[in-house]
C-alpha cells in the first residue's frame, strides 16, 4: 500500500477545519434538484385514496368509473399489490383490511393533479368497519381488537437482563418507581415524501426522497421479482429525513406499481397532511422505571419496562437504545420492550430512534432519586458513568463482554457544567420566591457511532479533478462535504476540485444508508479506502515519470506528486493523469471495524436553564449547553450546525409536535404545522444554544471521527424537565410540558385548602 500523505494523528490539511459545504452554491441558488423538482415529459401525477376508518375490511372496491374517467391512466387497489411485503415489514403496498385512518386504499395516476383528484372520488369502496384500538397497553389486554392473526405484539418482547434486578432492588437503600410518557410525535422533514417512478421494459428507475436508497432498492427488487441490476434508486438531494425516510415506504411501491401499469412515468408527492399522517413518525412510549441506589451513591439496579406504540405496521427498525445499559456502571439492569401494534399510523425510528424517549425516562428518574437522596444530580451521574476500561456490551445481549475506549463523557459533563455555571443551580428545588423562578438541569446521553457495510468509490479524472460516489444520502447532515473532505485529505487534492454524486444505487456500491450516526463512520471509512486505492493507482502511474521511483517513495501534496527523498523531482497530478490516459477509480468496501474487545461510543452532556412563570405556567429557555464527544470533527461548521439544530429539535419535543388521535374515530387531529408547532426562530432563540465540541479522537472512524447526527436530539426533554424541577419543584413526567401541566403541578404543591379546583 502506498504511503499516505497524511495519517490519522498526523498533520491534517483539510480535516478539522471550518468551512462551507461543497454543495452550498446549489442549495442557495435553487439549482439543487429535489425529488419533487423532477420533471419527465409525459409524466403522470398520482393521488392516493385513504381510508376513512381506523380499522376496516374492504368488502368491495369498484374502480371502473375512475378507470373510465378521461385522463386517468392507471388505478390500483390491494388486488394489484404483489404479495410481497414492503421491506418485509408486514405491510403490502395496499392492504385489506386497512389498519389506520388514512391508510392507502387505492391509488391512481392521471394526466394532471386535478384529473387525479376528481377521479379519486369515483372509486367506490364498501367498508366493513372493525373495532380498533389506539393505546399500546390496551392493545395487549385480552379481548382487545386484533390487528394481525398472530396478535398485536410485534415479535417477542425484547428482554435484556444483566445481574439480578429483583435482588439489586432489594439490596438498594432507596428505590423509586416512576412512569414516563412520550406521545406519538411528528418528526418529518421540510420536504414531504416524494417519488418519481419510471419503467423502461423491466427496468425501474425511482427518484425518491429517502435516507437509505439501497433499502428501497432491495424492497422494490423483491416486490417486483426483478434482479437488483434492474432497479435504480436516486436520492440526490433530500429535504430532511430525521429517520422518517430511513425505511422503505408505501409511496415508493405505489408509484412503481402505477408507473408499471400505466407504462408511463409517475410522480407521487405527499401533501403536508399526508406526510404527517403517513410518514413513520416518532413512536409513543410508556416507560415504567424502577431504580435503586445505595447510600454510597452507586446505582444498584435499573429497570425499564417499555410499551412502544408501533402503530399499524412497523418498519423493522426502532425500539429503545442503550441509555439504561451503556451510560452507567450499573450491575443489575433489566429492560423489557413490548412493541405493540395499534390502529394509528406507522411509526418508526426518528432522530435518535427511541433514544430521546428512553433518555427522558432514565435521565429524569436518576435526577429524581438523586434529589430524594439529597445528592447533587451531576455529582451522582459523574460518579456512576462508565469510563475508559469499564466493561460494556459489544452486542445487543446484555453481557458486558467488551471494554470501553475513547470515552470522554466526564469531560463533556465538566466542560458543560463550567459553561453554564452549575453552581448557580438552586440547592433546594423551587426555593426562589416570586412569580418567576429559574432552574438548571442536566441530562446525559450516549449512542453507538454507527458502522455497518460501507461502500463508495472515488474517481480522479484526467484533468486531476475528482469525484466521490456514494449511495447513502446527504439529508442535511453535510455528508457530501465531509466525505469529500476525507477523500481530499487522503489524496491531497484541493477540496474545490471535488464533486460528489450521492444517493445513486446504480453508480455507487452497496452501502447501509444514512441513519443511526452511520454515514460518516460507515460510508466515511469506505471513502477513505477508496481514496487510498485511487492514490495507489496514481502513484504507480507517476513512478515512470519520476525515474521509476517506487510508489512507496512518492507522495502527493496539493495535486503534485514528489519523490519523498528529493522533493525537487515532481510531476503534476494532471500530467500524470493525462499520460495515464484513463481515470483512476478507487473502490472502498468496508465492514464494521474489528476492534476486538474494544467498544467506542459517542456521548453528550446537555444542560438547560429555564425560567418558569408561576402565574402562567410558561417555561422560557434561558440557556442551553450541548457538550458533545464526536471523536474528531471533520468539519467544525457542519458539526456545530448538527448540534445546534439537533438540540432545538430535542427541545421542540418539550413544547409540541404531539400527534393526537380522536378516540372515537382514530383520526389524526393534528394534521398541520399549526397543530404541531415545529419551532420557528422565535420559539427558541437560537443564540441560546451553545455547542461544545469536546476534544477527542476515536479509533474506528475515518481520521478519528465517531459520528454525531442522532445524539443532539436525545437529552432535550430530560434536561428541561430536570431544570423545571430545579426551578419550581414540579416534576413533569409527560411530554409536552404544557402550561397546564406546570400549573397543575404548582397547584398540587399548595396545602389542600388553598388549591384551585
Amino acid at each position: 500500500m502506498a504511503q499516505q500523505p497524511t495519517t490519522p494523528g498526523g498533520p491534517l490539511n483539510v480535516i478539522g477545519k471550518r468551512g462551507p459545504n461543497i454543495d452550498a452554491v446549489e442549495r442557495v441558488t435553487g439549482r439543487a434538484k429535489y425529488t419533487g423538482d423532477i420533471d419527465i415529459p409525459g409524466m403522470l401525477v398520482a393521488r392516493v385514496l385513504r381510508s376513512p376508518h381506523a380499522h376496516a375490511r374492504i368488502a368491495s372496491i369498484d374502480t371502473s368509473k375512475a378507470e373510465a374517467f378521461r385522463g386517468v391512466r392507471a388505478v390500483i387497489t390491494y388486488k394489484d399489490a404483489p404479495k410481497v411485503m414492503i421491506w418485509g415489514n408486514r405491510q403490502y403496498a395496499l392492504n385489506n383490511p386497512v389498519r389506520f385512518k388514512g391508510e392507502a386504499v387505492a391509488a391512481l395516476a392521471a394526466v394532471d393533479a386535478e384529473t387525479a383528484e376528481k377521479a379519486l372520488k369515483l372509486i367506490a369502496v364498501q367498508y366493513e368497519p372493525l373495532p380498533f384500538v389506539l393505546d399500546p397497553e390496551e392493545a395487549l389486554k385480552p379481548g382487545a381488537p386484533q390487528l394481525f392473526e398472530d396478535g398485536n405484539l410485534e415479535g417477542m418482547p425484547r428482554i435484556l437482563n444483566r445481574g439480578n434486578i429483583e435482588q439489586g432492588l432489594k439490596e438498594s437503600d432507596k428505590v423509586i418507581e416512576r412512569m414516563y410518557h412520550c406521545p406519538t410525535m411528528w418528526s418529518g422533514g421540510m420536504e414531504p415524501r416524494a417519488c418519481v417512478a419510471q419503467w423502461e421494459g423491466d427496468k425501474l428507475t425511482l427518484w425518491a426522497s429517502t435516507q437509505s436508497p439501497f433499502r428501497v432498492h432491495g424492497s422494490l427488487a423483491a416486490m417486483f421479482g426483478v434482479p437488483d441490476g434492474n432497479v435504480r434508486i436516486i436520492a440526490s438531494y433530500v429535504g430532511g429525513g430525521f429517520g422518517t425516510k430511513s425505511a422503505p415506504h408505501t409511496d415508493e411501491s405505489l408509484a412503481a406499481l402505477l408507473a408499471r401499469k400505466a407504462r408511463l412515468p409517475v410522480k407521487l408527492q405527499y401533501s403536508r397532511e399526508e406526510e404527517i399522517l403517513d410518514s413513520n413518525t416518532r413512536f409513543e412510549t410508556r416507560i415504567y422505571v424502577r431504580v435503586g441506589v445505595k447510600k454510597d451513591m452507586t446505582i444498584n439496579a435499573l429497570e425499564l419496562k417499555a410499551y412502544i406504540n408501533q402503530g399499524a405496521y412497523h418498519t423493522r427498525l426502532g425500539g429503545l437504545g442503550n441509555q439504561a445499559t451503556h451510560t452507567y456502571k450499573t450491575v443489575n439492569v433489566r429492560t423489557e420492550q413490548y412493541r405493540v401494534h395499534t390502529n394509528i399510523p406507522n411509526t418508526g425510528p426518528t432522530r435518535g430512534v427511541g433514544d430521546p424517549q428512553e433518555d427522558f425516562a432514565v435521565e429524569s428518574a436518576l435526577d429524581e432519586i438523586a434529589i430524594e437522596m439529597g445528592w447533587d444530580p451531576m455529582e451522582f451521574k459523574l460518579k456512576n458513568i462508565k469510563r475508559n476500561g469499564d466493561p460494556i456490551a459489544r452486542g445487543p445481549a446484555g453481557v458486558e463482554d467488551g471494554r470501553l475506549i475513547t470515552q470522554v463523557l466526564d469531560r463533556c459533563i465538566e466542560l458543560g457544567a463550567a459553561r453554564i455555571d452549575w453552581t448557580r443551580r438552586n440547592a433546594a428545588a423551587g426555593g426562589q420566591p416570586g412569580p418567576k423562578a429559574r432552574g438548571i438541569g442536566i441530562a446525559l446521553t450516549e449512542r453507538g457511532g454507527g458502522g455497518g457495510v460501507g461502500g463508495a468509490s472515488v474517481k480522479v479524472n484526467l484533468d486531476g479533478s475528482a469525484m466521490v460516489f456514494y449511495s447513502s444520502t446527504d439529508i442535511g447532515t453535510g455528508s457530501r462535504t465531509t466525505l469529500a473532505m476525507i477523500a481530499a485529505e487522503v489524496l491531497s487534492i484541493p477540496l474545490s476540485m471535488f464533486r460528489t454524486t450521492a444517493g445513486d444505487t446504480e453508480v455507487a456500491p452497496y452501502d447501509g444508508g444514512s441513519q443511526g450516526n452511520r454515514t460518516l463512520q460507515g460510508t466515511g471509512r469506505a471513502v477513505q479506502a477508496a481514496a487510498r486505492d485511487a492514490l495507489d493507482q496514481i502513484l504507480a502511474a507517476a513512478g515512470p515519470m519520476l525515474d521509476n521511483t517506487a510508489p512507496a517513495d512518492l507522495e502527493m501534496r496539493d495535486s503534485v506528486i514528489r519523490v519523498k527523498a528529493d522533493p525537487s523531482k515532481s510531476v503534476k497530478l494532471a500530467d500524470v493523469m493525462q499520460r495515464r490516459g484513463r481515470s483512476a477509480v478507487g473502490l472502498g468496501n468496508t465492514t464494521a471495524p474489528q476492534t476486538g474487545m474494544n467498544v467506542e461510543r459517542t456521548t453528550a452532556a446537555h444542560f438547560a436553564e429555564v425560567e418558569v412563570d408561576r402565574e402562567t405556567g410558561k417555561v422560557r429557555l434561558l440557556r442551553y449547553i450541548a457538550a458533545h464527544d464526536l471523536g474528531r470533527p471533520i468539519n467544525v461548521t457542519v458539526v456545530e450546525n448538527q448540534i445546534e439544530g439537533g438540540s432545538i429539535q430535542g427541545l421542540a419535543l418539550t413544547q409540541g409536535e404531539e400527534m393526537r388521535f380522536d378516540k372515537r374515530t382514530g383520526g389524526c387531529l393534528t394534521g398541520s404545522f399549526l397543530d404541531l408547532k415545529p419551532p420557528t426562530m422565535m420559539d427558541f432563540d437560537p443564540r441560546l444554544i451553545e455547542a461544545i465540541i469536546v476534544p477527542n479522537e476515536g479509533v474506528t472512524g475515518p481520521y478519528g471521527a465517531k459520528g454525531l447526527g442522532e445524539n443532539p436530539c436525545h437529552p432535550g426533554m430530560a434536561a428541561v424537565a430536570n431544570a423545571i424541577y430545579n426551578a419550581i419543584g414540579v416534576r413533569l413526567r409527560e411530554v409536552p410540558f404544557s402550561r397546564g401541566a406546570v400549573l397543575a403541578g404548582l397547584n398540587a404543591q399548595r396545602p389542600a385548602g388553598s388549591r384551585t379546583a
Binding site: 452554491v25 442557495v28 441558488t29 435553487g30
Partner: protein
Amino acid sequence: MSDEERERADKASVSRRAFLKGGAAATGALTAALIPGTAEAQLPDATEPDTRHSTVEMTVNGRLYRADVPNSTTLAQFLREDLKLTGTKLGCDRMQCGACTVVVNGRNVYSCTTLALQATGAEVLTIEGLAKDDALHPIQQAFIEHSGFQCGFCTSGQIMTTKVMLDRMPNPTEDQARLALAGNLCRCSAYKKILESVMAASRMMRA
C-alpha cells in the same frame, strides 16, 4: 355569458380563492399565524378548483411571461410547473412554513397561497433571479460562508425573506431579523447559522 358577466364571475371566483384580503399574502401577516395564540389561522376554503382559464402576465426575474392558466393556479404552481423555476419549494402548500416565499412587487409573499392571477402585472423575484450574471447575491454568499442551511429545502424561502427585510431595513438588530424570519420554518432548525448568515449579509450589503 357576456364578457361583463364573465368578468364578474371570474372576479368572484378569484376572490373566493383569495385567502387574504387585499391581494397577495404577505408573510409578515402570516408570521402571526405560526405563533400560537396571536392570530387566527386563515385556512384556504375548500371550494372546488376553478377550472376557468385566464391570461396572466408578469415579470419574473426580469423577463416578461404571459400564459393562459386555470384561475386556480397558484403562483407557486405557475413558477414551478409552467416556468420550471423549481427553486421555489413547497413545504406545506398552506401558508404555514414559508418554503415558497418569493418577492412580489417588493413584498415577501407565500407563493403557495397567492394566485398567479393575483400577481398579474407584478414584478416577481425568485431565488433563481437573485444572482446577477453568475455573481452571487451577498445574501447567497453569506448563507454559503456561514452555512445557513442543512438540507436546503427551506433555504430559498429564508433567502427571499431576508432580501425583503434587508431592502427595507438594511441594519436590523438580531431580534428584528428573528422576527422578520419567524414566518420561515426550518425543520433542520439550522436557525443559529441562518441568523448568523442574515446578519453577515446585512454587513456585506452595507459595506
